[in-house]
Each structure stands twice: as structure tokens, then as C-alpha cells.
């Protein structure tokens, strides 16, 4: 007896897979356990083995075709057996994949010319259009308690037929009877999360959907109003620095593969250190060392151990730097500037603090030598003073990494059965995923976090 081979379902969310290779040809003999075909989802690839022995009677999908899961892709059986019965393409041309129910398939046979592709339920509803529906489909909708206005018509001349209702029913859009009566004003079912018994859409789900539709609508109305008021704006040419920043940001985001990782560390140690510096500054002739200086120092010491982040990605090669040339973002009236502390890995904390202050001052005055705005191997940007708790820094290509520094928030931790609070400072690292893997970047952050939490040890290194 002929046995259909189906596209397996890999995971709950996978709806279709692409056949990458057929390992057997039509007409060839296969044994149970033979490799039949390979296929892949958007994340992984798999091999499918034959579950029965026999002749590969027919193959319904070619290599490269996308096949919905649980669809017949081939048939194995005895020679001269009819495989066409299992052909999903043929079925969709004539009778469609409707459950084996004589009544239903009779109806569908009458209504021909149906295309396969639009079998997904319609998610948005246009109540104004006249809905064409076969009386049989209408009855079924009533019976199954689905709202036929959400069905995607696949019948002739855009008519909703019985199988569309079944598709809608199977796709989960089942209302409680009260919700169905209320559903008229729902614009989009895509965002409705059914919360009722057996996954039914309840009146409160409908209320929520209506609310969000209203919000969307009012957004549109608002936009329309803004467009109307043509006199309510002023235009100003972009400054050169803004043009440069715009170009750099756009280039950065369109030419690299950016990914950001977030973490936080216990800042008690560096806060305590800073306090002690402040108390002894004058006595020891120290700079006014800021938290940002401490971060710059720590980064300059940790980076050499993570060379993929102290590097430039040059499309076909990587350029790894022996020393750390640290860029740091400075907010100026004219716009963002990023001066560089060259060879920061060889400079003391006090030196870094002093140089950072001088460079920032030159940026603010607008008198900085352009050469000092180039050549960085890694950048640090700090939005902590704006009380930002997490953000996505944008890379400065060809650099492979940029570290965002966030504000300090109090967090709770359990230790020896006691809950205590500690100041947690957030770090957000964006890196070029072409240049390094997530785990490499994560290791850098982990290392940096460890040293910042034990900052005095870093000074001893």
C-alpha cells in the first residue's frame, strides 16, 4: 500500500520548511532508514529518512521549494500504484485539503478554480465590503461559532466556501457566543490573544483589540491632522557635523551586523574607590577621577585579552591592534564627537582621567585636532548621567565594538538568606557579529564586569 511521506514539524513555531536536497530519485527503490531528503527551517537543517521500504513513486516538491509542515512531499509504495491521490498540489486544484467528509468535499468539488497560496485566514476585516459566502459555509460558520468575516475566500469570484470556514476554525479564531456578537468593530485579529476557555476569544479580548484598533485609528487621525497643518513647522539646513553624524550612523547601521548585549555589575567597589580618591585628591595630587574615567581605564586593561574587540573589520580581513586606542563619546553643543586616547593601555588611571578631560574640553571648544578624532580601536559611550538604564550604542566602523555605560540603579540580591541592595550599573555592548560571535562578546563583558567589581585588583595588575 502506498505511504505518503510528510514534511515533519520541527518545533511549535515552524510552519514551513525548504527542501534542500532529494537524496533519492523518483522511481528509485528505497529501504526503511535510507536518507530520503534534507530540509531546513530558517535556523537549522535536518535529514528525513524513509520510514517504509518500497519504490519512491512520486516527488511532489522540488529542491528549493518551501513546503508547509505536515504536507505530503512524496509517496513510497509498490510499482504501478497510483500516487496521485496523495499529491497535495492536485488536491488543492480540485478538492483541497479538506477533512474526509463526504458532504464537505462534494460542495468543494462544485466550486472549482481555487489557488493554494491564500489559504491563511484573513487577519484584517473590512466590514464595508459585501461579503460573498456560500450558504453552506455560512451555516458551518454558525455551527462552529467562528466569525466568517475573518475567513479568507478561496472560492470562485472571491466567495467564502466551506473549507475557508474550516481553515478559520482550525486557525484558532473561535469566539465565545457573546464575543462573536461584539466582534464587529475589531480591525485586526493578529494581536488578539485568546484568553477564554479552550483558547476562545472572549469579550474582554475583543474589548482589548477594539481599544488597540481605536488607538491605531486615532494615531492615523492625528497624523492626518499634522499633515493638514502645513504651516506648523520650520525648516533648517543640516550643519556639517550633523550631516557627518547622519552619514556615519546610517552607514554604520546599513553596512554592519550589529548586536547588543546588556549586563550590569555591582558598582559598590568603584563608588567607594571614587569616594576615597575625592577625599585624598588634594593630598595626593590626583585628578578628579570620574566613574567614566574608571570605566575607560578598566576597558583599556581588559580589551587586550579580547583582541577581536580591539580590532577593525575590513571586509575580507581583521586588523588586530596591539595597543588600545580608546574612543569616548563627548556630547557637545554642535553634536556628538569621539576623541581618542591613544595607547590607553599604557596609561595610568590618573593619566587617562587627565587626558579625557583635556580632549573633551577641546571638543567642546571646537578646537580639537581632527587627527585626535580618528584612529580609535574601540569606543565607550556614556548615557548614565541622563538616567538611561539600557540602550543600543551604534558602532563606529570599522571598529568591532562599542560599550554603552548606563546609570546606576539599586538592585536586590539574596546572600546568606538576607536580601540586600546594591548599586547596579548597566553596560550595553554593541559588536559587529560579522567579526566575532556572541559568546566572544559576552566573555569580554563578563571579564570587564569581574574587574570592575574588583577594581583595586585591576590597579595592582
Amino acid at each position: 500500500m502506498a505511504t505518503p511521506v510528510i514534511m515533519p514539524k520541527q518545533g511549535q513555531t515552524v510552519e514551513s520548511c525548504i527542501i534542500t536536497k532529494w537524496h533519492k530519485k523518483k522511481g528509485e527503490r528505497v529501504e526503511a532508514g535510507d536518507l530520503l531528503f534534507s530540509y531546513e527551517t530558517d535556523k537549522a537543517s535536518f535529514d528525513e529518512e524513509a520510514k517504509v521500504s518500497g519504490i519512491l513513486l512520486d516527488i511532489f516538491f522540488e529542491e528549493g521549494e518551501e513546503v508547509p509542515v505536515l504536507t505530503n512531499v512524496a509517496v513510497i509504495g509498490e510499482e504501478n500504484e497510483d500516487a496521485s491521490l496523495y499529491n497535495p498540489k492536485k488536491v488543492s486544484d480540485n478538492t483541497a485539503a479538506v477533512p474526509e467528509n463526504a458532504e464537505i468535499s462534494n460542495e468543494v468539488k462544485k466550486e472549482e478554480d481555487v489557488s493554494q497560496e491564500t489559504r491563511k485566514p484573513k487577519e484584517s476585516l473590512q466590514s464595508s465590503e459585501r461579503i460573498k459566502i456560500s450558504p453552506r459555509a455560512k451555516n458551518l460558520a454558525e455551527k462552529l461559532n467562528v466569525d466568517y468575516r475573518f475567513a479568507t475566500p478561496t472560492g470562485p469570484e472571491g466567495r467564502i466556501i466551506e473549507r475557508d470556514i474550516l481553515e478559520l476554525f482550525n486557525s484558532g479564531y473561535v469566539f465565545t457566543s457573546a464575543a462573536k456578537a461584539e466582534a464587529k468593530e475589531v480591525g485586526n485579529l493578529k494581536d488578539v490573544e485568546p484568553s477564554g476557555i479552550g483558547g476562545r476569544i472572549t469579550t474582554s479580548d475583543v474589548e482589548k483589540a477594539k481599544e488597540s484598533f481605536k488607538i491605531q485609528k486615532s494615531d492615523i487621525e492625528l497624523s492626518a491632522q499634522i499633515i493638514k497643518d502645513e504651516t506648523e513647522y520650520e525648516e533648517a539646513p543640516l550643519s556639517n557635523i550633523r550631516k557627518t553624524i547622519a552619514k556615519a550612523m546610517y552607514l554604520s547601521l546599513t553596512t554592519t551586523a550589529q548586536l547588543t548585549l546588556h549586563t550590569s555589575f555591582d558598582a559598590s567597589n568603584i563608588l567607594e574607590f571614587r569616594k576615597r580618591v575625592k577625599e585624598n585628591r588634594e593630598k595626593l595630587g590626583l585628578e578628579d577621577i570620574t566613574i567614566n574615567d574608571i570605566i575607560l581605564f578598566a576597558v583599556s586593561r581588559v580589551l587586550p585579552k579580547h583582541k577581536a574587540l580591539n580590532a577593525h573589520f575590513l571586509d575580507d580581513k581583521m586588523r588586530y591592534f596591539k595597543n588600545v586606542h580608546l574612543g569616548f563619546a563627548v556630547d557637545t553643543e554642535r553634536g556628538l564627537m569621539v576623541p581618542t586616547i591613544f595607547n590607553s593601555n599604557k596609561k595610568s588611571l590618573n593619566q587617562i582621567s587627565k587626558e579625557a578631560k583635556e580632549l573633551a574640553e577641546l571638543c567642546r571648544k571646537g578646537t580639537i585636532n581632527p587627527d585626535l578624532l580618528k584612529g580609535a580601536t574601540f569606543t565607550v559611550t556614556n548615557l548614565g548621567s541622563f538616567e538611561i538604564e539600557g540602550f543600543t550604542p551604534v558602532l563606529n566602523p570599522p571598529q568591532t565594538g562599542i560599550l554603552g555605560v548606563n546609570t546606576i540603579v539599586m538592585r536586590a540580591k539574596a546572600q546568606n538568606g538576607q536580601i540586600s541592595y546594591y548599586p547596579a550599573m548597566g553596560l550595553s555592548l554593541t559588536f559587529d557579529h560579522r567579526a566575532l560571535d556572541g559568546a566572544d562578546a559576552a566573555r569580554f563583558l563578563q571579564d570587564l564586569k569581574k574587574w570592575l567589581e574588583n577594581f583595586e585588583l585591576l590597579l595592582a595588575c
Binding site: 511549535q12 465565545t176 457566543s177 457573546a178 464575543a179 472572549t202 469579550t203 539574596a414 538568606g417
Partner: protein, 454 residues
């Protein structure tokens, strides 16, 4: 030993979660420090129902003449009632044990302590053994709330103040009993001991009995109890208990009430302390574990179901919560809905309700209408309840034409109320309900009668 799931607590939430988890192939361990079945089975729902049923049989016998049955020398033998109670508990606990065994759930007797989390999972210590699991379900239940009343601790120590645990073990009916608290548990116990011959007084802080029971129903219940001889002191606050005298304040005056026994029935408190919740940082808010609609706590893969989350401290809520937990653990999205959870008072007459009361519906701004009928509209009710009218009251959402709440007083309402809960859950409209067929003659037909009043 490594498990997929460790459940702490073998009450309704714990044992049902164990059954469902085992059935779904999760390697499951259940830890219980006292008795499987928890408060519900051992010192709550089930034993009190055994007592109340005996009271009901006794009362029926007393009034049997109304129904043409003559009975001589009627007596309630409390000792025999207790023996039967213990037998019922034993049968049910055995049933739970066998169900857990059937579903391959391991059960360990002992006190579970959460030590923390390591790279392999959550580490739990019981009787000096350590067990590890990927997931935890906290189902440690609740304990009677002991209000800060002077003399209460001494009373408990001397044995004349009782909680729901000790009162079920009393081998003799006290001549007099003061019940502190007029909630469901207090009323059920008051009702039994009244039938069994105690002089019962219920002292309640609020001006009504039955907690959030519908006021109209609660008034009918109060009058019925009063007719049976139970005394009520409403709007009264207990100040002190001394030498088996309860001192309470009513309308600014201090009153003393002597009683052989005093039952504490002033609510319950989730068990959240002493077993190491803090070692994994589970968030506790207002004395209960904070959970979301999927019963997840703030800690990954740690769930809390039943009384310990303090949402609705009822055994049947715990059952459903347990199922929601397990469904989410096995990857089936499920959320807990609390809108249609029924409440029942199993006294004679029974009271049952589900959904909104008039007060809560008004507070929430529903536009509703009320339809009600005496239970006498049911033929079977008339046949079996001589001399009592009963009441069935339904709140209808005017716009949606769905049921918002239903409140019933009269026997069998405990068995009928789930049907109305189903109508609420399914959001059936009045017209849908009118198409349902109810068996005739049954008391449940009262729902149909009320609905056809609209």
C-alpha cells in the same frame, strides 16, 4: 537525584500537579511534611463535609414527620461521626497515594527546605537528603490566622481555644461554643455543632455573615440559622479571651460571653516562611507569593499554586492553578481565570455563588439587571424542602446579555453552581442558555426558570 519538577506540599495544588505532571511524563517528586491531601482532605473541606452530612441526616430524621416518616429516639452520636470522618479521610488519602503511584510520582515525607540554585537546578533538602530539579512548584498552602487577641495563645495551649484542626478531633460535643469569625468555615462549624447540641454563638466583625456572599442571601441564611438557635453577634470585635470567657466590644460596650470552647475561624495566612524561599529570591508580597496569570513567580521556572499565592484560597482554585502550572511547564500556554470560580457553604440550607455580586458589579461599573425567583419554582425543591423558600438570583450584563453572577440558597445549589460557572466561562448569552435542556424535575431547573424571566 535530579527531577524535572519538585513539588513542595501535598495538598490539592500539590497532589493534583503531581498527578498531571507524572501523566505528562515529567520526572516528578512531591514532598509533604504532614499528610498527603493537605488541609482540604485532613482538616478542612472533606472532614467538615462528613460532619455536615451527618447533621443533615440527623435534621432530616428530626423533621421526617413532615414527609410522612415516623422515627423514634433520634440521636447524633458524635463519636461515630468522627469514626466515619476518619474512615472517609483514609479512603481518600489512599486514593491520592495510588493515583500518584500510578503516574510515577515519587513521594517523600518530610520537611522540604530550599537551599538554593546551582548549575544543575534548584536544590531541595529533605531529611538530610538533597534533591535537584529544573523546576519548582511551591504549594505549601496556608495556616489558620491567629489574630493578636490577648489570651488567645494561652487558650490554645490549654485547649479551650481551637483551630479548624483541633475542633475536628473533639471527642465530645461542648455544651457551648463561641465561633470567632462568620465566614464560610465558621458558619459550617457553627451549623454542625448547633445541630449536634452545642449552644453556639458566632462573633463577627462585619455587619453581615458569609464574607463576600450576596447580602440578600446572607440575610436569609442569618435568619435561618437564628431560627435553628445559633446566636449572632455582628459588628462585634473580640478584645480578649480569659478563662474561657470571650470579651468583645459591640456598639462601644464590652460584653463577656462564657463558652466551653472557642473556635478561631478568622481566616488563613499563606505559608511563606521558614523553608528557604528567600534563598532563591522568590518575591513575597503582603505575605503571599506573587504570581502572574500563569502562576509563575519572579524566579524562572518557579511556580506557586494554591493558598500560598493567596489569590482565592479554595481547594478547587488550587486544582485549576495546579493544572495551569503543569500546562505551562509542558509548553501548553494556559492562563488562570478567576472570574467564574464558585463558592459554596455546605450547611443546611446550602448556599452557592459564582461571579459578581451586586456590590462588586456596581464597583466595576457593569450595567446589569437582576432577575430572581424563590427556589420554589423548582418542583423537586418543593417536594424535598418543606417550609423553606430559598432564592436564586442572577445578574445579567444588560449589554452583552451574559451572566455576570449567580447566587443561590437552598439545597443542591452546591451541585448546580458549576453549571452557571460554565455559562459564565463560555460567555453564553441569555438566548443561548434558553436553548439548553435541563433534566426535569431537578432543582437545577431554577436556572432555566430565572433565565426565562428575562
Amino acid at each position: 537525584m535530579k527531577y524535572d519538577l519538585i513539588i513542595i506540599g501535598g495538598g490539592p495544588a500539590g497532589y493534583l500537579a503531581g498527578e498531571r505532571a507524572g501523566k505528562n511524563g515529567l520526572k516528578t517528586l512531591l514532598i509533604e511534611k504532614r499528610f498527603l491531601g493537605g488541609v482540604c482532605l485532613n482538616e478542612g473541606c472533606i472532614p467538615s463535609k462528613v460532619l455536615l452530612y451527618s447533621a443533615k441526616v440527623y435534621e432530616s430524621a428530626k423533621h421526617s414527620q413532615k414527609y410522612g416518616v415516623e422515627v423514634e429516639s433520634i440521636k447524633l452520636n458524635h463519636k461515630m461521626v468522627l469514626e466515619r470522618k476518619n474512615k472517609v479521610i483514609k479512603t481518600l488519602v489512599t486514593g491520592i497515594k495510588s493515583k500518584l503511584r500510578k503516574n510515577n510520582v515519587e513521594v517523600v515525607d518530610g520537611f522540604a527546605e530550599i537551599l538554593g540554585r546551582n548549575k544543575d537546578g534548584y536544590v531541595i533538602k529533605v531529611n538530610n537528603n538533597e534533591y535537584i530539579a529544573d523546576r519548582l512548584l511551591i504549594a505549601t498552602g496556608s495556616s489558620p490566622f491567629v489574630p493578636p487577641i490577648s489570651g488567645i495563645k494561652e487558650g490554645l495551649a490549654k485547649g479551650y481555644v481551637l483551630t479548624n484542626r483541633e475542633i475536628l478531633e473533639l471527642d465530645a460535643i461542648p455544651t457551648s461554643l463561641v465561633v470567632i469569625g462568620g465566614g464560610i468555615v465558621g458558619l459550617e462549624m457553627a451549623s454542625y455543632f448547633n445541630s449536634a447540641g452545642s449552644k453556639v454563638t458566632v462573633i463577627e466583625m462585619l455587619d453581615h455573615i458569609g464574607g463576600n456572599m450576596d447580602r440578600e442571601i446572607s440575610d436569609i441564611l442569618l435568619n435561618t440559622y437564628k431560627k435553628k438557635g445559633i446566636e449572632f453577634e455582628l459588628s462585634s470585635k473580640v478584645i480578649e479571651i480569659k478563662d474561657s470567657k470571650v470579651v468583645y466590644e459591640k456598639e462601644g460596650k464590652l460584653i463577656e460571653k462564657s463558652a466551653e470552647k472557642v473556635l478561631l475561624s478568622s481566616g488563613r495566612r499563606p505559608n511563606v516562611e521558614g523553608f528557604g524561599l528567600e534563598n532563591i529570591g522568590v518575591e513575597v508580597e503582603k505575605g503571599r507569593i506573587k504570581t502572574d496569570e500563569r502562576l509563575k513567580t519572579n524566579v524562572p521556572e518557579v511556580y506557586a499554586a494554591g493558598d500560598v499565592n493567596g489569590k482565592l484560597m479554595l481547594a478547587h482554585t488550587a486544582y485549576r492553578e495546579a493544572e495551569v502550572c503543569i500546562n505551562n511547564i509542558i509548553g501548553k500556554r494556559d492562563v488562570m481565570r478567576y472570574e467564574a470560580i464558585p463558592s459554596v457553604v455546605y450547611t443546611n440550607p446550602e448556599v452557592a455563588w459564582v461571579g459578581e455580586t451586586e456590590e462588586s458589579a456596581s464597583q466595576k461599573g457593569f450595567d446589569y439587571e437582576i432577575v430572581k425567583l424563590p427556589m420554589l419554582y423548582s418542583g423537586r425543591f418543593v417536594a424535598e424542602n418543606d417550609g423553606f423558600d430559598g432564592l436564586c438570583k442572577i445578574l445579567i450584563d444588560k449589554k452583552k446579555k451574559t451572566i455576570l453572577g449567580c447566587h443561590m440558597i437552598g439545597n443542591y445549589s452546591s451541585e448546580i453552581i458549576y453549571g452557571v460557572g460554565l455559562m459564565i466561562e463560555a460567555q453564553m448569552r441569555v438566548d443561548d442558555i434558553k436553548e439548553l435542556v435541563f433534566p426535569h424535575p431537578t432543582v437545577s431547573e431554577i436556572i432555566r426558570e430565572v433565565i426565562f424571566e428575562i
